[in-house]
Amino acid sequence: MLERAFSGSDKYYRWMTALLVLMGLGFATYLYQYNQGLTITGMSRDVSWGFYIAQFTFLVGVAASAVMVVLPYYLHNVKVFGRITILGEFLAVAAVTMCLLFIVVDLGKPMRLLNVIIYPTPNSILFWDMIVLNGYLFLNILVGWNVLESERKGVHYPDWVKPLIYTSIPWAVSIHTVTAFLYAGLPGRHYWLTAIMAARFLASAFASGPALLILLAFILRRNTKFDPGRQAIDNLSQIVTYAMLISVFFVGLEFFTAFYSQIPGHMHALQYLFFGLEGHGKLIPFMWTFAILAVVALVLLINPKTRKDDKTLQIACVCVFVSMWLEKGLGLVVAGFIPNPLEQVREYAPTVPELMISLGIWATGFFVLSVLYKMAISVKEEAAS
């Protein structure tokens, strides 16, 4: 099946070449980091995780969101999702690939990566994150590949795939829950120490993931003979609407607890993000962009007219994706470290090499995604003709 990814239009080749160039630049920059150490990043002893871990956290959500098409299709027999289920699964594969790469580039000693397996440590959440992420990657590759291969042959997928599909549903929830536990269980990091962290993560994941899926479906419809179906897009956009509402609601809950209780430690990070703390406020413009985009997205999504219109729906989906990226892929991780445990405000901003490496990883993710989607679409086009 993979051979289908090697033939395509000129446009497809140009796109893949562009991605390869970005991957190459990212890799070259990584070699520089490998040689110099993490000193080339903006991270410090105070903000000891930065852009890499924030991207990782956001992308775990994108990966987990595949369950939003898999669950209705396989458990509730929502037939309209039949055509896009594979897109959800392959999106998960690409997203988890990026997650794993972001973890690797963040390590100070990447060559010792296997120590996590050689000295298994069940009391560390990172150990469990390694297990659930890799497990989820394999589940989605196995399920996606086998279901697609059966479609190509015009037969029903083999029986042994079914239990894997069912397993993948709670597994998707587990990857984002465990990732939230990385943060939610740390004493002295007030911004992260919230019981609704996992719930917030899941809600924002189920907004940003399906929003990206809708955008991808539109791109595929424009460039190929593949049609995801009007009803599928409609259903997905409803999921995005609810998830986005719940996400914004959850952010509101954080605000209430912090500012009504007036406990300084609980207010600090939010103050830093939205209003500035002790004269520091690098993230203020980004966080207000998040707030504005979230409101725009909700207005466009809640109104059925704009939600059902292709153009405004796409704008809404871009707003959802970007706003959730700002909130989770930027603010959440960085603000957890500000102020530091000594209540000093030490700010963080990613450096150019850090952004180059991140861009390279995003390009890698989209490369994997393009290969898998090309394969899936070709098979579907053949099956249709």
Partner: protein
């Protein structure tokens, strides 16, 4: 020889299983490790701790004294990176409102203003850094409760730095060796870039019967080291006769550094 795909996969699966059983085999093999006799002159305790008499430090110490910090950093080849961002510190000084955030009010400012507290790893009874480490590179020694680091096992994920509520951990963002500005201590390892480090309560000195370097260096005797489980130890006597405070006791980490103010 003809090998079918099925039998190849079977053999591959078996090999993977064999590899997976390695850690189990290792765990079993550890039981058979040879026992080494401990140095008879070594200092032994059940739970090492420290009482820091800040009054003594401020009143009897000379202005701007950094003897404890210097002694520690020379002993352990701690590099002087020269910027706040990547600074490496095992023991350091900071003001009251940073050492005990949330405790300072503007009424006690005058009394405490500009006074520096001595900060170091608390060698917690319930250390979050140990709980979060994915490789056991940081661990709590069973015999005496010292929270230690294996520099050769650390993968540099910095989870421990996120976990530590005392900012006691430093990461080697760049190659530290060129920044060791004091004379190299040949008996203590230097570190590589990419690993985390912190105070080890001078476990290497205790093993030779010496007290920690910072304690030894403090001329007014403000730093007192001892076994918290031994009712006759000097630390216990100080704790029995003075009101002491600990950093962020409310987090349940069980810090073992006590301050007399």
């Amino acid at each position: 020889m003809e090998t079918s795909r099925r039998s190849f996969l079977k053999a591959g699966g078996l090999c993977t299983l064999g590899l997976a059983s390695l850690p189990a085999a290792d765990a079993l093999a550890q039981a058979a490790l040879p026992k080494v006799m401990a140095n008879p002159t070594a200092l032994v305790g059940k739970k090492w701790g420290m009482v820091i008499d800040m009054k003594k430090c401020w009143e009897k110490g000379k202005e701007g004294c950094k003897d404890c910090v210097n002694a520690c950093h020379v002993t352990h080849n701690v590099p002087d990176i020269g910027n706040v961002k990547e600074e490496i510190k095992w023991i350091w000084q900071d003001e009251y409102e940073h050492a005990f955030p949330g405790q300072a009010t503007h009424y006690n400012e005058e009394f405490i203003h500009g006074k520096k507290f001595i900060l170091l790893c608390n060698h917690c009874t319930n250390p979050p850094c140990v709980r979060v480490c994915p490789t056991k590179a940081t661990f709590k020694r069973k015999e005496d409760g010292i929270v230690m680091m294996d520099f050769h096992r650390c993968i540099g994920c910095r989870f421990c730095m996120a976990g530590c509520p005392y900012a006691s951990r430093s990461f080697n963002f760049k190659e530290p060796r060129p920044f060791i500005k004091t004379e190299l201590n040949q008996t203590f390892p230097t570190r590589e870039r990419g690993v985390v480090e912190k105070c080890s309560f001078c476990e290497e000195r205790l093993a030779k019967g010496q007290i920690p370097a910072c304690v030894e260096a403090c001329k007014p005797g403000a730093l007192v080291f001892g076994d918290l489980e031994d009712p006759k130890s000097e630390v216990r006597k100080l704790l029995a006769s003075h009101y002491t405070i600990q950093r962020k006791l409310e987090l349940g980490t069980g810090p073992n550094i006590f301050y007399i103010v």
